[in-house]
């Protein structure tokens, strides 16, 4: 495999971010995104005509409408015409597309945003549609049931213990004590309610800038020192569910192990995922670093991953971290994983 020549890569930094998450938002997607996109433009002093590339992430399945992202472009202001793209994925992958565009040398700034508004419909129905359409989706397993299959393998093979899951739920704040955790009935046996995510509406917008531009726009840019994404087999029966090879490889390629991690922002919707990701990415089983936000308390389809990156950047801006890690996942059972390492130091 070709080793990535990081030194030859153009330096890109996150220079501004804005986000919003609520359990049930009455605003439309456009109304939600206008203030967030305006906020990052205000913070950097950039006008839409100054921005080289705009890339968004959202889900037509969630909106129930084809090309739904076109409507949200009203929040950007695409007149005069702009250079624009969209991924039917979490915004973390939209950020990756923008990062590639920087490497092509054709832009100095980019606006990346993503959003999801599951509250008007049934998110579990939408999540079922991402499963294999012939072999799995007709059986309509919900996301918690699929996660339960993995959780049982982890527990029965001794990879994780119920006590460790209880402690993770406690750290996350879905329960106040181990006793409370163990008194909960099974939701998707062997997962309890405290192991499973709740969902929220939300959106996030960030501005990226090149090494020529970043320091003009931000006092302390959060430099992307490594970013990589990998995918595991589509059929989850093919993979040993107690491992996540794609997360392990992405972490290696993004250079997670090149230095200490001060803040880790993991897109772990289940306690089991938090544990598995730590293991695969070589992070301590029980976090010694700061981890402020847990999607398990409010996972927002299409935005949680980019939100993790924005939070990891905030750790740099606020001086809490010199080096932070952000992770995003997509698909069932951590099928696809993106890892991004940020640093307060440019080199």
């Amino acid at each position: 495999m070709l080793e990535r020549k990081v030194e030859a890569m153009r330096k890109v930094a996150i220079v501004a971010a804005a986000s919003r998450q609520e359990t049930k938002m009455l605003d439309t997607e456009v109304e939600m995104m206008i203030p967030l996109i305006s906020e990052v433009k205000d913070k950097t002093g950039l006008d839409q005509t100054d921005i080289g590339f705009t890339c968004s992430g959202s889900s037509d399945f969630l909106a129930g409408q084809a090309f739904s992202f076109v409507m949200t472009l009203d929040a950007v202001g695409p007149v005069p015409p702009i250079s624009e793209s969209h991924v039917e994925m979490d915004g973390a992958w939209a950020l990756y597309e923008a990062w590639v565009k920087f490497q092509m040398g054709v832009i100095d700034t980019a606006l990346v945003y993503s959003y999801g508004k599951p509250s008007p419909g049934s998110l579990q129905d939408v999540l079922s549609t991402q499963l294999d359409p012939y072999y799995v989706a007709p059986l309509w397993p919900d996301a918690h049931a699929v996660a339960g299959l993995q959780a049982r393998s982890l527990l029965e093979q001794g990879v994780v213990t119920a006590e460790l899951l209880a402690d993770c739920a406690l750290r996350t704040g879905t329960v106040d004590s181990r006793e409370e955790y163990f008194s909960q009935p099974m939701l998707s046996d062997p997962l309890r309610e405290a192991d499973c995510p709740t969902y929220a509406d939300g959106g996030v917008a960030v501005i990226l800038a090149s090494e020529e531009k970043a320091e003009e726009l931000c006092e302390k840019p959060a430099w992307i020192t490594g970013i990589d994404h990998r995918i595991d087999a589509h059929q989850f029966g093919v993979r040993d569910l107690t491992t996540v090879p794609s997360a392990r490889i992405a972490a290696q390629k993004a250079g997670v192990h090149d230095g200490p991690i001060d803040v880790a922002e993991l897109h772990a919707a289940y306690t089991t995922h938090d544990f598995l990701l730590r293991k695969e990415m070589g992070l301590p089983e029980i976090p010694t670093h700061s981890q402020r936000s847990y999607p398990i308390k409010a996972d927002t389809l299409m935005a949680s991953g980019l939100l993790r990156i924005a939070e990891a950047a905030r750790g740099i801006w606020e001086g809490e971290a010199n080096r932070s890690l952000a992770h995003a996942t997509a698909g069932p059972l951590l099928q696809q994983n993106l890892v991004c390492v940020l640093s307060g130091e440019r080199n």
Binding site: Y134, L139, L149, H234
Partner: protein
Amino acid sequence: MESNERLSAPLVLEYPFTRTTGPVIGAFMTGLRERIVLGIKRQDGSVLVPPTEYDPETSQPLTEMVEVGQTGEVVTWTWVQEPRDQSPWDSPHALAMIKLDGADTPLLHAVLVDDPTLLNTGDRVRIKWREETEGHIKDIEGFLPIGEEND
């Protein structure tokens, strides 16, 4: 038309396309209609069930389909206490990954037991076919623990 009458038109959400399931998934589905289960051989000799047209790890095209058994082992499972509206099953059941005899990868389906205490990982199960099969994953009504007489 009265001026205060509201204009309305029906909006039917539909997917007006058909597509073929192809040589591998199609063969698997046809097999189900004939009440047999087909897998596909990978280069290392292991058998993928359900089968895919390509190797999920090496991306090599796969073509050699083989029949596997109608009994197998529960690899992992979870319990569905309240089936969703769209679920093929009305009553509580287990969803399980089941490795059929002769297969090297498990497939997802239901194990039809009344209570989660009646199921353990490693249990042997067998296919219960629907009375009428039509070439669909739901031709398998579910799996029954071996030894139980309620076909």
